[in-house]
């Protein structure tokens, strides 16, 4: 662990604002005029804080204190005045009857027998439990936190600050999404810094490699469509013919987990035909001779074809086209690195972009992610420091990507300080973590579980206390994207509904009660207004990047862009130890990998479970959010598994049949959907939380680590797509 840069580790975050109505011009529609005087209608800027590439700036229309409509903010040229389907459901999200309205206590976990309690009671129960644990163990290490990306508003980092202010605690560390690729890009470039996606239109050739923006980044999909209409050739490489692939000029149905072989095969052809950019490599990189020698001695196009299933002549043509097009861009998705060799694949693709001189070029790049916009102070987090004299000396870090198993290992070992209390915020780990059955056991082994959420989801159902959290429209926030270069402010649009509070208010509330019960037991400040908190988040130099005088200037347009990233790395100043692009990375080698971007063999397909399972993102949800909403249910409300007709025929399965999908660790029963768009030897189940349905794709998944991630994010990622199953008709 350690090495974690706080920004990368946090991945998301946000800040806040003051009050002001905004002109109707900000919106793509003109339903109402801006508020005048004490007008009953107003429009405010909101910001979607989900773990989404697009991190939209939203215009929210409020009439008589009720949200009437949300749409995209025109001031943000990436959002382009439009939202995705999830964003448009927000009014339903806010006013859903399913929201958790009050603090509640469950008589018995999983019973659904919730009784309403007051905030005072809730704070009292929780504070007493914390003090009791501290007294019994002489430390707060038995208290664990599991929080991540359900809401990336920077103010929610108050939860981390809150726990620190009790003492040293146990933390779920890491990120499930993208760590292997982040490590790869850190080894190669010194950091992941993608080109501004708005300049993707400048590419002459665009390879979308293992990403499905049609479902996960609709605004980038729109940019891709524009590029295509301008004559950019769009090639999509993916084992699944996604909606993105369906829009491509060419789709390459690669064998899963062999992406590195395709990149190396293309590079070999480019080298053999002298299409590489020797000048760029000499000027900007180290280790290129070793890399080129590796290609010369170890790689053939025939081998790459054998590995990937892509015919030799296709690899050769792709290589020629990619090398000839100037500039040519690659978008590396998070899907391709969710393998046991995923980090190695990303390095091979980075190298392909670098050897053709496509780095530092607008319309080029090996574009994976960026964290340049996270210039926040994280004041809400650093406000919490362990009280004097805490002997633990540091937090105990558990791997978020294997959290349940590690909790059980600790709680089954009498030598270790047990985990007695768990705080869950901005996360639904039972729905999202692999090995769901282990999650249930881990929860059972913990005495006391508090979850702060908006919905009675699986994790809440296994908790003792639930605290109602405000929606984004009821509080302040600030969010940045890890893809585009905009930072958005979120002003409250309405008063908090029911008795809901923000995570920051909850942190202050608990702190107050702790200090009443035992003065000095909690250092978290309790006397700051939310506006003060937000004003603390934007550092002066960050504000200057936008040409602002004060942070409040962002309220005028609701959004501000960090400029200067049309062509990331164009200054040639890489953040690696050598200051160059590193084809040969000693840091990578020191972390137990190869120094060069070599091919790492993919995971072997088990003989008894020969069908690969993909569980990618669902278009009507973002992980366990949105699919549960009534508006979404009116469009779609049934989980399903996609099966190729050839496999279905072999198994006697017809469209609409119920099938049992079984892995080493569990099974699910779902409806079959027959489609030609998936490989013959794989099935696809989209992960989502359906309201009141017994469905969770993660019962099938093993917590198999990906190859990389621990260097830059603290913990290795997950091989979500190296999962194998059998499929039978029920």
């Amino acid at each position: 662990m350690s090495k974690v840069s706080r920004r990368t580790f946090l991945k998301g975050s946000a800040v806040l604002g003051a009050l002001a109505g905004i002109g109707g011009t900000a919106s793509s529609f003109k339903k109402i005029k801006p508020a005048k005087a004490a007008g009953k209608k107003k429009q405010v800027f909101s910001s979607c804080p989900r773990n989404c590439y697009d991190t939209c700036s939203i215009v929210t229309t409020v009439e008589d204190g009720t949200i009437k409509f949300v749409t995209g903010n025109m001031n943000n040229t990436y959002t382009n005045g439009r939202l995705c389907v999830k964003g448009y459901t927000y009014p339903n999200y806010v006013y859903s009857p399913d929201r958790i309205k009050y603090p509640m206590r469950q008589k018995e976990r999983g019973s659904g027998k919730w009784e309403r309690i007051s905030w005072d009671e809730a704070y009292d129960i929780i504070a007493k439990k914390i003090l009791e644990i501290k007294k019994e163990y002489g430390t707060t290490l038995p208290i664990a936190l599991n929080k991540y990306s359900g809401n990336f508003n920077v103010l929610n980092n108050a939860v981390e600050g809150m726990l620190s202010s009790w003492g040293y605690t146990t933390r779920a560390q890491g990120t499930p999404c993208w760590p292997a690729g982040i490590d790869s890009q850190t080894f190669d470039f010194g950091a992941a810094v993608a080109n501004d996606p708005e300049v993707m239109v400048k590419a002459k050739y665009l390879i979308v490699w293992g990403a499905n923006p049609a479902w996960t980044s609709v605004h980038s999909m729109s940019i891709i469509e524009r590029a295509k209409e301008n004559g950019t050739k769009i090639v999509v490489i993916d084992p699944i013919m996604t909606d993105t692939a369906s829009k491509a000029d060419e789709y390459i149905g690669i064998k899963a987990s062999t992406d590195g072989a395709l990149a190396l095969g293309m590079a070999k052809y480019i080298l053999d035909h002298n299409l590489h950019d020797m000048e760029w490599m000499k000027k900007n990189s180290i280790g290129y001779e070793e890399y080129l020698n590796y290609l010369r001695n170890n790689i053939t196009v025939e081998w790459a074809s054998e590995k990937t299933g892509v015919p030799v002549e296709v690899i050769e043509r792709l290589a020629r086209e990619y090398a000839a097009a100037k500039p040519a861009a690659i978008w590396l998705g998070y899907g391709l690195q969710r393998h046991t060799n995923g980090g190695a694949s990303v390095r091979a693709i980075d190298a392909l972009a670098a050897m053709t001189g496509n780095i530092g070029v607008a319309g080029g790049g090996a574009n994976y992610a960026q964290t340049e916009c996270y210039g926040f102070n994280y004041a809400v987090q650093s406000a919490g420091t362990p009280p004097e004299g805490d002997k633990a000396g540091g937090d105990r870090m558990l791997n978020m990507n294997n959290f349940p198993a590690q909790v059980l290992a600790i709680n089954n070992d009498p030598e270790q300080i047990p985990i007695k209390m768990l705080w869950v915020a901005c996360r639904n780990p039972i729905a999202q973590d692999p090995e769901a059955s282990v999650s249930y056991k881990a929860f059972e082994s913990i005495d006391f579980i508090v979850t702060a959420d908006l919905w009675f989801n699986e994790t809440v159902k296994q908790s003792d206390i639930v605290l109602p959290v405000s929606s984004i429209f009821e509080t302040w926030g600030l969010t940045a994207s890890y893809w585009h270069y905009w930072v958005n402010v979120n002003e409250p649009a309405i008063e908090p509904l029911y008795e809901s509070k923000s995570d920051l208010e909850i942190a202050m509330g608990i702190s107050k009660r702790l200090n009443e019960l035992e003065p000095g037991s909690c250092t978290y400040p309790t006397d700051r207004s939310i506006e003060e908190w937000i004003s603390n988040e934007l550092a002066d130099d960050f504000i200057k990047k936008f040409g602002f005088k004060t942070w409040r200037d962002i309220l005028e347009k609701g959004t501000a862009k960090v400029e200067g990233y049309e062509a990331a790395w164009s200054d040639g100043k890489f953040r690696t130890p050598s200051g160059k692009y590193e084809f040969l990375s000693e840091t990578c080698a020191a972390n137990g990998h190869h120094a060069l971007p070599v091919y790492v063999e993919e995971m072997e397909v088990p003989k008894d479970r020969p069908i690969r399972l993909f569980s990618p993102h669902w278009k009507y949800g973002l992980h366990s959010q949105f699919q549960n909403l009534e508006w979404m249910r009116s469009i779609h409300n049934e989980p399903f598994v996609e099966i190729h007709p050839a496999l279905a025929k072999k198994k006697g399965i017809e469209d609409g049949d119920m099938v049992r999908v079984e892995s080493e660790v569990g099974y699910v029963e779902v409806k079959a959907k027959i489609t030609h768009t998936v490989p013959k030897d794989a099935v696809v189940i989209y992960e989502a939380w359906y309201k009141e349905q017994n469905f969770n794709a993660n019962f099938l998944l093993k917590a198999t680590p990906s190859d990389m991630g621990s260097y830059a994010t603290g913990q290795a990622g997950l091989a979500f797509h190296d999962q194998f199953v059998t499929v039978e008709k029920i």
């Binding site: 389907v85 829009k247 299933g309």
Partner: protein, 196 residues
């Protein structure tokens, strides 16, 4: 010379539509529809539309037909075909008998269980008259929906019929589609087929 009468119609670009339903939900939100009903519908259409298999969708709402079956079936005359081509439903006259829903080959009119009346898309006629585009048009993240004047467009570039969409000649559906282009598909064979 008098200006030629407009014939407003939806033009859906299947090359751009990703089947996301943002159109459906933004419309539902803007008009505060009952949660159980929608004015726009996105359906999957044949994967083989362009030969090689891929994901294709049709997003449609009311097709503002030339010979609206809803209007013919309605016993109270709640439907009128406006001069600009829009078929408008007058809820004040509607008695919720659902004759229109049965008659419409596209199943467009929906029953609002609270108002006990039918509901359907009016092409955001109030917005059009105010010089603004319909909500679904301005909301679609892929800009796949447009309002066109059928008297102005080149009909040879568009189609009125698609698999899974009732024959446009029945009621003279005004909706037009831009067909998707084909995608070159390279899919490697699998070796372990016999063991699956």
């Amino acid at each position: 010379m008098a200006k030629k009468q407009k014939r407003y119609a939806f033009l859906i670009n299947l090359e751009r539509c990703i089947g996301c339903n943002a159109c459906t939900v933004s419309c539902k939100s803007f008009y505060d529809l009952h949660p159980s009903i929608n004015r726009r519908f996105v359906r999957e259409t044949s994967e083989l539309l362009t030969g090689t298999p891929k994901r294709n969708y049709i997003s449609t709402s009311c097709n503002h037909c030339d010979r609206p079956a809803c209007a013919t079936a309605c016993p109270t005359g709640a439907y009128i075909k406006l001069d600009n081509g829009i078929v408008k439903h007058n809820q004040d006259r509607c008695i919720g008998c659902r004759m229109c829903a049965t008659a419409c080959p596209y199943g467009v009119p929906q029953f609002d269980p609270v108002k006990k009346k039918m509901d359907k898309c009016d092409m955001c006629v109030d917005r059009l008259e105010a010089g603004e585009q319909p909500i679904c048009v301005v909301s679609c993240p892929l800009e796949a929906i447009a309002i066109v004047d059928l008297n102005e467009i080149d009909e040879s570039q568009v189609v009125a019929d698609l698999p899974g969409f009732a024959d446009s000649s029945i009621t003279g559906s005004s909706t037009r589609f831009i067909l998707p282009k084909g995608t070159t598909v390279v899919r490697g064979g699998i070796k372990s087929w016999n063991t699956l």
